[in-house]
């Protein structure tokens, strides 16, 4: 493998951003700016598809590994993918062009700066998913804060400053402890190379504290109850494209981190802390579902539903069952598609009515039918109806959970019902009912770019709902290998 495909994936959006930087943005050439960004991210998507085609899913080895000396005798720039990470890269490259396509209506000023931020964000996110060195991982993980802070702060809603600060400081606070843990790992083992660490293992007596340090970072990012409070604020105030990035990709970094690092590096500690994760996940599922039920703001409702969905993900990961972890990854991919779509749906009506309150709407099914159909599809996918990708993930997770812990699984299953309740109730109140608000009559149905975006999200949602094999094939071997190593290392206490 001579062509550095992963580095190209990471670098390409930054190069695109660099070009945008030198294109002055004004009313006339807004198109140029947009098409440069769209073109870059689309090429990146094609590149990642090519990566998927080349990817050999019969092995759990890391593939396309590139390694360069970065800091002498200390850190190597090392990237590579296995079955666990490749899907997240695809998700990132798939969502970003849609985000860029969606800015038409929502971003009115400083478009080129916005697109630069989005593209740089894409670089960092791909970097997170393919880095095979702890320090490089941390670098990408943290660096993503800068563009996201600006996206929320500059293009956000009324309380954007508060939300941007909350987002930044919460995540930074969680992450600094991870930095301490990474340096500690370096001094314990003499390396930060993930592949080497997998084979070396870390002494059991250190694992608990290190696990907690990583947990503090991932828990904030996931977000798990009780440190989830930044998420609704950030989502509500962020512009649509920002919410989409946040929900679809940023949250997945933590889930990915749990699988890659918490399970991979600290099996003993993971076993110790599984009850903690279970408790927090179950609370997240039940508690935030109830909160979601009471929301009057659509974006806030979807934000809380994200917390609940991520609760399933963490639950699934720590079942340490083949189905559980597979389910978690599929759930993350599906949530990436569905929550992105839901935020875009909210964005569509928000751009027309400038209100996110549920009360504003009602009875719009006859006015904007195309929209109502697509919105229904995503609502059903969010509540996990069979035939949508949401079902596959949730079902596998619950199956894994039943194998591991009956009680937890039962409680989590109750969450599915509440989930159905708030999503359907949301749909009913927005789309059906009597048309009271006369302003709604002036609404126009989806325009071309909105249709393209929502349809391209709907296709994979349905496709993977009926036929999840491509996803499962990709991740299967890597996960079974991960679980095998996990159990082996658990038995030998390293």
């Amino acid at each position: 493998m001579n062509f550095p495909i992963l580095s190209s994936l990471i670098l390409l959006p930054t190069v695109g951003a660099f070009f945008l930087f030198f294109t002055r943005s004004n009313k006339q050439n807004n198109f140029t700016v947009k098409y440069v960004a769209l073109f870059t991210s689309f090429v990146n998507f094609l590149l990642s598809i090519y990566l998927w085609i080349l990817f050999d899913h019969t092995t759990s080895e890391f593939q396309f590994v590139e390694q360069r000396t970065w800091i002498e005798d200390f850190i190597n720039y090392k990237v590579g993918v296995d079955g666990i990470s490749i899907l997240f890269i695809l998700l990132t490259t798939f969502i970003t062009p849609l985000c860029i396509l969606s800015v038409n209506n929502s971003i009115k000023e400083r478009l080129s700066e916005f697109l630069i931020a989005v593209l740089i964000m894409e670089s960092f996110m791909i970097g997170v998913f393919c880095s095979l060195d702890l320090v490089i991982f941390y670098l990408f993980f943290e660096a993503g804060l800068i563009p996201m802070f600006l996206i929320i702060g500059i293009w956000g809603g009324a309380r954007r400053v508060y939300s941007a600060f909350k987002f930044f400081l919460y995540t930074l606070l969680g992450s600094v402890l991870m930095l301490v843990a990474i340096i500690t790992i370096y001094w314990l083992t003499g390396t930060t190379d993930v592949i080497e660490l997998y084979s070396l293992g870390i002494e059991a007596k250190y694992q608990n504290l290190l696990w907690l340090a990583f947990f503090s970072s991932f828990a904030v990012k996931t977000p798990m109850w009780p440190v989830h409070t930044w998420l609704p604020d950030a989502h509500v105030e962020a512009p649509t494209a920002g919410s989409v990035l946040l929900a679809a990709i940023l949250l997945k970094m933590a889930g990915y981190g749990f699988i890659r690092f918490s399970l991979g590096l600290f099996p003993v500690a993971s076993e110790v802390f599984t009850p903690l994760i279970y408790t927090l996940s179950v609370i997240a599922i039940i508690f935030t579902s109830f909160i979601a039920l009471m929301q009057e703001d659509m974006k806030k409702l979807i934000a809380y539903s994200s917390v609940a969905h991520m609760g399933y993900v963490t639950l699934g990961i720590f079942t340490i069952q083949q189905q559980g972890i597979e389910g978690s990854i599929i759930q993350m991919i599906s949530h990436g598609l569905v929550s992105a779509a839901l935020f875009l749906c909210v964005g569509v009506v928000y751009d027309r009515m400038h209100s996110r309150l549920i009360d504003t709407y009602g009875g719009i099914v006859s006015i904007i039918p195309k929209y109502s159909v697509l919105f229904m599809l995503f609502t059903l996918a969010a509540l996990g109806l069979p035939g949508t990708s949401g079902f596959v993930g949730e079902f596998l997770i619950l199956m894994g959970a039943f194998k591991d812990n009956f009680l937890v699984a039962v409680i989590a299953s109750i969450g599915v019902i509440i989930g159905a309740a708030y999503m359907l109730w949301l749909y009913k109140r927005v789309i059906f009912g009597k048309l009271i608000n006369n302003d709604l009559k002036k609404m126009i149905d989806l325009n071309r770019s909105e249709s393209i975006i929502l349809t391209s999200l709907a296709i994979p949602t349905l496709f993977f709902g009926f036929y999840p094999d491509p996803l499962i094939n990709t991740i299967e071997v890597s996960i079974s290998d991960l679980i095998e190593t996990y159990n082996f290392r658990l038995a030998s206490k390293i």
Partner: protein, 472 residues
């Protein structure tokens, strides 16, 4: 006699200072010539230092009272280059206030001479001599804008408090001399008897004096007032250059004679470091004046640099040196931005004067944002690596408490850096600032921003330069 070439940089610098002084007295309106000549002198001195001393392993001169080694050469070059940059960007500011006088470059040069002697010192007396030479020049520099009451106040305050700390420092020196019978660092190291509590007292007094010079908490009180009152170009000098010399002396003093007493001084340094990091972060939150805010932020950064020294290892010391170099770079950029906030012969230094900068001056705002994120220690900017190296060496010594408090205070500090970014990017714009900045000012801003931005591509170079320091 052959060894005299090793102190040639200092000799050359002092002769040049005298020459420039005479030239300035006898030639009317010579401030521009002297400014330019001073720049040449600084560069030439740096080149001489590089040529004569970088290859030298370790040589002691003048009855072992002066030491030339890699640490001193490196720090001298850093000092000289930083001073060079300060001088080239300050001329516009001085012209605005009509204080573009011959004394300014000459005072700065004499202060640099003092710092070079400090950096070279291997003896308490030589060290004190250098310290006083640099301080005396700095007192005058602080009051340089003498028509403004704040500037005079700053100088006076600095003088009184600094004199007090010098007194403490001398008292410490005399205690150490009394109990070891020498002022030479190496002799002290041999004569050391760790049972003598008086020596510990001596160390404490000297550390207090040094902590004052480097403005570490709890000896920082002068810094915000002096930084605010002094002319901005002098504040820039204050925040960057004297810290290099003071840090070198910190390292030399603690690592050469007193490394065996590490148990005694390590606690003090940990305290200084933690207090500075926390206090710098928390106190900066309430500030409304940018120069005061920079003062508190520099107090915080000194805390991080001292954390590296507190480890008592070669790695830690090197990480401190890396920290101070990167810190200088960031401060240079920060002050270049401050010096650009000028409208009709008036400089603006309130925080709200930044508001909406990104609309009116997008490039300036972008650079300032990069610098601020770097100061906050967010990857992948240079400031992150500076902190990373320091905490790496701190954790190596299992000083987890220091590491965790330090990292948590970066989160607190991130708050006020973010606040500045928020004001620049999220708030309504005000009137535009002038754009006819000198070429040098633009150069220094671009230079520092680009280095901060691309540092992550070539991180090994700086490490390689610094890793040749070896004094233990």
């Amino acid at each position: 006699m052959t060894n005299l070439q090793l102190v040639f940089p200092e000799i050359f610098l002092s002769l040049s200072i005298m020459f420039l002084l005479i030239l300035g007295v006898f030639k009317k309106n010579s401030s521009k010539i002297i400014q330019n000549l001073s720049l040449v002198v600084l560069l030439v001195t740096a080149v001489i230092t590089f040529n004569e001393t970088v290859g030298i392993k370790e040589v002691k001169l003048f009855n072992n009272s002066i030491i030339i080694d890699y640490l001193s050469s490196l720090m001298k070059i850093v000092t000289l280059l930083a001073t060079f940059l300060v001088l080239i960007i300050s001329s516009n500011y001085l012209k605005t206030f009509k204080i573009f006088k011959i004394e300014y470059p000459i005072l700065i040069l004499s202060s640099v001479l003092g710092m070079m002697i400090m950096i070279n010192s291997n003896d308490l007396i030589v060290f004190y001599m250098g310290l006083e030479l640099q301080s005396l020049a700095l007192y005058v520099l602080a009051t340089f804008n003498r028509d403004q009451i704040k500037s005079s106040e700053a100088g006076l305050k600095y003088f009184v408090l600094s004199a007090l700390s010098s007194g403490l420092l001398l008292y410490g020196c005399s205690l150490i001399y009394g109990f070891t019978g020498s002022t030479n660092f190496n002799v002290i190291a041999n004569q050391l008897n760790s049972d003598e509590y008086a020596i510990t007292f001596g160390i404490v007094f000297i550390l207090v004096g040094l902590a004052f010079k480097i403005s570490a908490v709890p000896f920082h009180m002068w810094a915000p007032d002096v930084y605010e009152g002094s002319p901005t170009s002098v504040t820039l000098f204050f925040t960057m250059v004297p810290k290099v010399a003071a840090l070198t002396v910190f390292i030399r003093f603690l690592y050469v004679p007193f490394l065996n007493l590490i148990d005694q001084w390590q606690m003090i340094l940990i305290f200084l470091s933690i207090a500075s990091m926390l206090f710098g972060a928390i106190a900066a939150i309430g500030q409304t004046n940018l120069k005061r805010l920079v003062a508190y932020s520099s107090i915080g950064h000194v805390g991080y640099a001292l954390a590296g020294v507190a480890t008592g290892t070669n790695d830690g010391m090197q990480s401190s040196v890396i920290y101070i170099i990167i810190y200088i770079l960031m401060n240079l950029g920060l002050f270049s931005c401050l010096l650009m906030m000028k409208r009709e012969n008036q400089y603006y230094e309130k925080i709200e004067d930044l508001s909406g900068l990104s609309k009116n001056h997008p490039m300036l705002a972008l650079s300032l944002m990069i610098i601020l994120f770097s100061l906050a220690g967010i990857p992948p900017l240079a400031g992150f690596f500076a902190k990373f190296y320091v905490f790496k060496s701190v954790i190596e010594q299992s000083m987890y408490f220091l590491a965790i408090v330090g990292l948590l205070s970066t989160v607190v500090a991130a708050f006020y850096y973010l606040r500045l970014i928020k004001i620049m990017y999220f708030d309504k714009e005000k009137e535009k600032y002038d754009t006819d900045h000198g070429l040098w000012l633009k150069f220094s801003l671009t230079f520092s921003t680009l280095l901060i931005l691309v540092y992550f591509i070539f991180p090994s170079q700086l490490i390689e330069v610094v890793s040749r320091i070896n004094i233990i």
